[in-house]
Assembly symmetry: C3
């Protein structure tokens, strides 16, 4: 009976989660602007809750027929991100023979669960702006994929250490905490973080590391455990397939939610940063391994360039700045794999299955500092008409004289809080501390629950 | 001599088919509106055959310079569908060691042949509207990929059972029948079926099953035959790669030919349905297999959500409805694999190599019923300005008073047949019966020819 | 010490190359029009160097806010090309067990290096038009991927024959020569070559073949060397994965830099040509191998259709012409693999690891001749308003009467050189000779340097 329950608990918990999601979708979720027939879009215009999309009753017929988050603009990037989550993350884990097929399978189930669950959770935070409904649009499902990314990063730390039912519980809890953290960082602090360096990589990594520390068992550090996990030539090729898809589509990840000219910068900066981190990662691996490549180091080095520019990619980092960031990330991350991972395991009792500390935590830490520096250097001369679009808090408050003067030039300008560039830098750092804090506490608590 | 002919017949038949296609393309096929220089597009406007694209001689220079099926709107979805057909279907079949590489190879040849052949066959039905020419545009090549999908579904049933030359004959014959069925279902019955639940999944599955029944041989049911077909860990990973690409790009498949707001609903509904069918499929598999995943069941369960909403995805299924459909499809399909496939084999003499009955036939059957129900519930209040766009037959005929009243509101309204929602439901069911009928008869006849 | 240097030289050379790139990016490279905030785009309008994008100071606010190479138009094709370079080329090489993982790895490093390096090199040629800056836009990174393609074609010839540091040197030198050749062919000769039949396939192939000839060693021709290189069933499947991605996205490769109606023709022509070359390749392989497929022939045959129409795809090749070209390419290429490759090896001492002579050199040779023929047949009646867009040299010079007469009809017409269709054909052939010349000399010199 007990063994039967252990076996079946996974199916029961997973099935019940899905039924709960079904019920909550029935109560709260509806199609958004783009999925609503043109003649019925008027419902979105009766708004008294400060909806930023509100255009007032004077909206013309032509405006009604236009898309807000259009398929040509966002669909192909959405699909790229989708591939990163399901193929990229999934096959990245196949370098370990023991977890190969299971890794892909669990990646598949858990990501499917998170995307649905996070549409609800994120939607709850945005409900006051949306007539207390959750409205589906392209940005919502892109953001849902981002949440799946957060959770899969944590999964990378604890892969092979939890029971199936524990994975499901971890996923459900972490999604809630990730949404709380995202709300604080993006809405309360107004941090610049379009590619999720802070809300995705930093959060996911520290949550996972804290969880791994809490549930640590001595046998994971033995050679037997770790030797078994490495696979053959074919495992490496499957893993390379995941790595390369992540590499290729990272510009889409960082640019998917950016708009206007900053979206192009996000593409160019990420493209250059991740190409350079390939070089940085391979060179460092070659040196520390005395003229050889090893799969795990290569993967870490090559991808870290996408992580480090996640916050800063929409800003004026300049092409050379992207290359420098990428190169640094590749070097740091490869060194981290060679020196820091074994150290964390031996000294701190943190066993990190896929090396998440190197690929996500360290580059994200550096990337957040860089975002603070670049934000602190922002001037209206450099950013021109995008100054208040990229940093909406820099706009003066609507009680000030300046606001009305600026409104003459930029008719669409929304009032901000008159924040200075240094103030923005401080908020980037506050986001960093908050994210690490919530991540660590969340990970420890989830671990404590799992151990019972 | 005879052995030599047997070997070479495949090359001869395939080569001759391609030469025939070359000649027919030379006689009939030309570039369409978008591939024609702006100053020469006037030729498309001299029209006296009821061409729906006809805009009359008053067309302005600006209208001439605009695309009709533009690259930003349709190209990335076309490529997603392309990946589903060539990578998705191809690698899905690699879970069987025996057919692994051959499966991918035959998939590649046959899909290439069908896309070209179906451009001709579908084009013939549309020639009267196009000055007796076949005109290439993006929608034509998307539809060609859909036809390849139909044929590859049938291939899934009979994989490993025909000789190479028999595959080519099957493909050539089935494409013609699929086009006849599509013409009846979409043009004569006016069924709602943008994702091909009826014309692709139902037709392809029943054609293949009837063919398999006709050519059945006892030795296929032996354990020896079936045990041999399963592969290693690596085969499973390749197969998973195909599965995940099908999973990811299914929203593109269902939305590729939809337009306007219904296209967004197609994306959201398919995205939710297929994510839920992953959960439904895995849970069911875990239960019936006593706490294990098996590749074949997982594949069936996970993908069935895309099949079940193929007809209904553009309609107001609502997000919760999509999740419910997907969950049902995942459960039905996994149960089908565990219980129905062996039953079909033993009792009915239908050996179904890839389990097409579960992944395509059953979810498509349910999906068609659901489409009838949802269509029967359609009201102008819910669909607003999209009511007559989604259901063109609901428009009054141009002899009625209503038509001219409505024309005041919707200047682009084309006359319909005044069909009621219940009438639409009846036509969905008629399409189901017709499709199964043509599929079964076609499969039996093709099988009878193959046996000679 | 010496062994240590040999080992480390790769890391040193690669690292120094990246540092040099970083410095040059710092001096020269900046964001282009689309990546610049709207209010700062005025800087691009102060132009006195004949910039073709120059619109004058009368540019309206609306024109300033519009994208020039927009994301909806170009991003998804860029990503397709990106996948071809990193997954397609990378995994194509995995059919050889010995170079499998290393092939993918080196492909990854070298392509990342080339994309950055070629942005600089190509940018230098275009600097006079751009205020002596290199400006990033979407077309620049698509062109950078094309350059990576050129180099990876050469890599296919010499895979397994150079030391790591020699690969890096080859890549750096070849990129410079490829840019010089591209400048001569596209700007001086004004050749039509949007899909790179001449500048990419012909150049890359002959450079690689000349290099292979120069460094030839007798042991490469032994059976031992060549037998070892073939892999298992799984290697074939990985390789098939690369092949199919190249096959699927080739229409994006040929259409990525085309504009207007010619872009649609590029898609349709490439789609039909490559589907037909699949059939042509399989049929020929089946015949010459007596009823079997072999991986290497299949790969060559299937992809050659994309190569042969690279120059001609934007022109009026007509759908039947594309099928005919593809079919021919598939047959030629498969025959080449069976008969020509061993001959080149035995008689000429050219060992061609991946069969680049068949897949790239021969179809590109034929394709260039076809482009000359099709260009010679061009008439204003067939091309209409696209006549002077596709062949800008056909426009009369601005000293002639005709120019002002035509300018009445086409206000945007730029002055050309009054070239005739036959003149264009001559320039296509001149491009062929120049490209082969520079490729051969460059390959021999690079080889001579490598041997020291």
């Amino acid at each position: 009976m007990d063994r039967k329950w252990n076996l079946m608990s996974f199916a029961v918990v997973l099935g019940l989660s899905e039924v709960a999601i079904l019920i909550l979708f029935g109560i709260f979720v509806d199609y958004g602007w783009d999925g609503t027939p043109v003649s019925l879009r008027g419902q979105f215009l009766h708004d008294s809750h400060g909806n930023p999309n509100y255009r007032g009753p004077g909206t013309s017929a032509q405006e009604l027929s236009q898309s807000r988050v259009s398929i040509p603009d966002s669909y192909s990037m959405f699909q790229d991100v989708h591939v990163m989550i399901f193929i990229g993350f999934g096959f990245l884990m196949t370098f370990m023979r023991r977890y190969g097929y299971g890794g892909v399978g669990f990646n598949f189930i858990l990501a499917s669960l998170v995307t649905q669950w996070s549409i609800l959770m994120r939607g709850f935070f945005e409900m006051p702006e949306n007539h207390y409904r959750i409205r589906l649009d392209m940005n919502k499902i892109i953001a849902a994929e981002f949440s799946a990314g957060t959770i899969l990063i944590s999964l990378g730390v604890v892969l092979g250490k939890l029971s199936p039912v524990q994975y499901v519980i971890m996923v459900v809890v972490e999604t809630v905490l990730a949404m709380v953290n995202e709300y604080i960082v993006l809405y309360l602090y107004g941090a610049v973080d379009v590619g999720g360096t802070i809300t995705i990589h930093l959060f996911g990594a520290y949550f996972g590391l804290a969880l791994a520390r809490t549930i640590h068992r001595r046998e994971w550090s033995t050679d037997m455990f770790n030797d078994l996990k490495y696979g053959t030539h074919y495992n490496d090729l499957f893993s390379m397939c995941g790595t390369v898809f992540l590499f290729m589509f990272w510009p889409s990840f960082n640019a998917a939610l950016a708009v206007g000219d900053s979206r192009y910068r996000a593409i160019f900066n990420t493209y250059l940063a991740i190409s350079s981190s390939v070089i940085g990662g391979f060179v460092t691996c070659w040196i520390v391994k005395n003229g050889k490549f090893t799969m795990d180091i290569v993967q870490n080095g090559t991808l870290s360039g996408g992580v480090i520019v996640g916050s800063v990619c929409t800003l004026y980092l300049y092409p050379w700045g992207s290359i420098l960031c990428g190169l640094m990330a590749g070097v740091i991350s490869s060194l981290g794999f060679h020196y820091v991972t074994p150290f964390l395991d031996r000294r701190w009792g943190i066993h990190d299955t896929c090396g998440v500390h190197n690929l996500h935590a360290m580059p994200a830490l550096f990337g957040t500092f860089i975002s603070a520096i670049v934000a602190a250097c922002a001037t209206p001369e450099v950013y021109g008409s995008s100054y208040f679009l990229l940093f909406p808090n820099f706009a003066p408050s609507n009680t000030s004289q300046d606001y009305f003067a600026l409104k003459q030039i930029y008719p669409d300008l929304l009032p901000g809080s008159g924040r200075t560039p240094t103030g923005q830098a401080a908020n980037q750092l506050a986001s960093l501390i908050t994210t690490i804090g919530i991540g660590l506490i969340g990970g420890v608590l989830t671990g404590a629950v799992s151990l019972r």
